[in-house]
């Protein structure tokens, strides 16, 4: 029934204030993206590009002090429709003097209370999350089954303990855990990383969320386990059709699971569009960063023709001193003399260059 995207993030900015440098670290700086119902959006980017912080901001789980989150995170499901950042700004005061931020005053208590009120009934119930490092992400002092059952009791209509247990075992079966009835009683340390991740996925799905955020679900696992987890996620995607935000730096994972892809760099989205166009290297409208990213990954073709891999020169963007112009300007190899001036001094906006495909690059439009 619902029209429009389940999650629409508009111009999200998550800044952390560094006391020692007296400056904001702009981890997420103007992210705009949206996820359609039943689709998977893959978010890809280097470390430090703000992928995880975007996810944690969506969940209201940013706890560093004093951090500032502004923008709009619109969640629209069958039961809920609200901006998850509503009125949070009221709890922050920033003292500026001659253009520099001198100090930040944040009413942390009020902020935390407001966030918890806003997120009540959202966390777990509407949005569930899978983390990297499955072994550390499960409570080591409780059995995995109990933890899944707890999530079921908290977030679904089931309120009977035995029913919750049966349901937890059902979900353990769904994630292809071997002998789920026995595994129910296992503590996380008795399980391998891959099994823990299956349990985490079962726990996230068990609350039947409207949106699933998977933050690097395969990172930190063995290569063979990684591909099994990817297969499992693909299988679950077809059988349950959960709307998913999939975060990974691994393009292969993104490729095999996503319908749409957002490419992040330096805290912002450089390209947003359907997976098949973004992940094909010879597509006409392609951000130079995405092109460079794709050609830096070994493919069948590279191995066959013994081609050398391309390297993206330079370092990841310093998120304290973000330049005025395009964030990728320093490392871009596709700048032409015609647009150079513009690239260096004004930041291009994320503009639709083809229906459904947005790019932040002056090569495809002029302002």
């Amino acid at each position: 029934m619902s029209n429009g995207p389940v999650l629409a993030i508009e111009n999200l900015r998550t800044y952390f204030f560094s006391r020692s440098k007296q400056a904001f670290i702009r981890s997420v700086d103007g992210v705009t993206l949206h996820i359609e119902k039943g689709k998977t959006l893959g978010i890809v980017g280097e470390s430090g590009s703000g992928k995880s912080v975007t996810a944690l901001s969506t969940m209201g789980l940013i706890s560093a002090e004093p951090g500032v989150i502004i923008g709009k995170i619109g969640l629209k499901t069958e039961t809920v429709q609200k901006n998850l950042l509503r009125d949070l700004k009221d709890h922050v005061k920033i003292n500026m003097s001659t253009g520099r931020i001198m100090s930040v005053y944040k009413d942390s208590l009020g902020w935390q209370k407001k966030i918890n009120r806003l997120m009540k009934g959202i966390r777990g119930k509407e949005i569930a999350m899978i983390f990297q490092n499955p072994k550390l992400s499960m409570n080591p002092f409780s059995s995995i089954g109990k933890q899944i059952a707890e999530s079921i009791l908290l977030n679904t209509s089931i309120s009977n303990r035995n029913e919750a247990k049966d349901k937890a075992i059902y979900w353990l079966e769904q994630v292809k855990m071997d002998s789920p009835r026995l595994r129910y009683y296992n503590n996380p340390y008795g399980l391998s990383g891959g099994m823990c991740q299956r349990a985490m996925i079962a726990m996230a799905l068990s609350s039947e969320p409207s949106l699933l955020i998977a933050d690097e679900p395969t990172t930190g696992l063995d290569a063979t386990i990684q591909s099994k987890i990817v297969d499992l996620l693909a299988h679950l995607k077809t059988s349950f059709g959960v709307t998913t935000m999939l975060i990974s730096h691994d393009i292969d994972v993104i490729k095999s699971l996503s319908d749409n892809v957002a490419v992040m760099y330096g805290g912002t989205v450089l390209e947003h569009g359907p997976a098949r166009t973004i992940l094909t290297s010879d597509y006409k409208y392609k951000h130079p960063y995405t092109a460079a990213l794709l050609s830096s990954i070994p493919s069948q073709e590279h191995i066959r023709e013994k081609k050398k891999l391309q390297v993206i020169e330079g370092d990841v963007l310093d998120t304290i001193n973000i330049p005025d112009g395009c964030r990728f300007f320093e490392r871009c190899n596709k700048v032409t003399d015609k647009i150079k001036e513009q690239c260096e001094h004004t930041e291009p906006d994320l503009r639709e260059v083809f229906p459904g495909h947005k790019v932040r690059c002056f090569r495809f439009f002029r302002t």
């Binding site: 208590l109 966390r123 550390l136 409570n139 080591p140 977030n155 503590n187 726990m203």
Partner: protein, 301 residues
């Protein structure tokens, strides 16, 4: 392990007693002429072993038979006497431990959750100041105030024949609870453990699924550190109890040990040492049991 520990403790205390000046015979023969000759005659008459190791071994042999000997001062059997008064000491130390925790835990929990806000700063400094107060001084001040301001004589009667009143019970407990010097340590340790656990990834998971972080951090962030603190502070409390019992004439083990030391009542000192060591050992045993119950991994390590 426990037996070895008791053996070691008793041996060390014995050596200290043996090397320290004075001996029970001087105390015993105080009324009479305590010359060397009389003392030696008493030794022979009581058939005391001559060398230090035969003395220790004969004591050890009797212990293994369950005989702790008789007090030199009173002539009463040591074991039953020590057990009788150790109950009072357990009341005092348990009560003051609870007192310490009642004060320290809320401060620790609050500052772990909310960070060092001005209020928490105040409370933390307060605990440091309280910890710096010497317990005997604090005890006398409390007695002074209660006599001169309230006209109540707060000393527990050493015979305790007229029974306990709450007032007599609470004052020493409060004094030892505040003055044992461990409050600031309890606050600091608990706060650090809790903040560490709050930063664990599984707490993030708990928040992400909408569960209570208190519930998920309880075992590692509260139960384990609390039992660890209790077990490790029992020796300090027993030490503090010696002073507080003396100040308040509390009929406990500490006071008895104090008197026994003055009279060079060797069998009594040794008996108290063994019972105190058993109490300390029970504390660490309790900690171990909780640890294994909470964390099944610990049992295999």
């Amino acid at each position: 392990m426990a037996a070895l520990l008791l053996l070691g403790v008793s041996f060390v205390v014995f050596i200290i007693l043996f090397l320290s000046p004075g001996n029970p015979f001087n105390a015993l023969l105080k009324e009479q002429a305590a010359t060397g000759a009389v003392s030696d005659a008493a030794k022979r008459g009581l058939s005391v072993p001559s060398s230090w190791y035969t003395q220790y071994l004969s004591w050890l042999g009797n212990i293994l038979k369950g005989d702790f000997g008789n007090s030199i001062q009173t002539g009463l059997p040591v074991l039953s006497e020590v057990i009788r008064v150790s109950i009072n000491t357990v009341y005092l130390t348990a009560g003051s431990m609870i007192m310490t925790l009642v004060l320290a835990v809320p401060i620790a929990v609050l500052s772990a959750r909310r960070g060092l806000t001005p209020t928490n700063w105040f409370f933390t400094i307060f605990t440091y100041v309280v910890s710096a107060i010497p317990v005997f001084w604090f005890g006398y001040i409390v007695i002074y105030i209660s006599i001169h301001q309230f006209g109540v004589f707060p000393l527990a009667s050493s015979s305790s024949s007229q029974g306990w009143s709450w007032f007599h019970f609470m004052l020493p407990v409060i004094v030892l609870g505040l003055g044992n010097g461990t409050i600031s340590e309890v606050v600091r340790y608990l706060r650090e453990e809790m903040s560490r656990v709050f930063a664990e990834e599984y707490i993030l998971t708990a928040r992400a699924k909408g569960a209570s972080i208190w519930k998920h951090s309880f075992k590692e962030g509260f139960l384990l550190p609390i039992t660890e603190i209790i077990a490790s502070k029992i020796p300090f409390l027993l030490g503090g109890a010696v002073v507080v019992e003396q100040v308040f004439s509390w009929p406990g083990m500490g006071r008895m040990a104090w008197q026994a030391a003055q009279y060079r009542d060797y069998p009594l000192i040794m008996g108290i040492t063994v019972v105190a060591a058993i109490i300390v050992r029970m504390g660490s045993l309790m900690q171990r049991v909780v640890q294994i119950m909470v964390n099944p991994r610990a049992s295999r390590e």
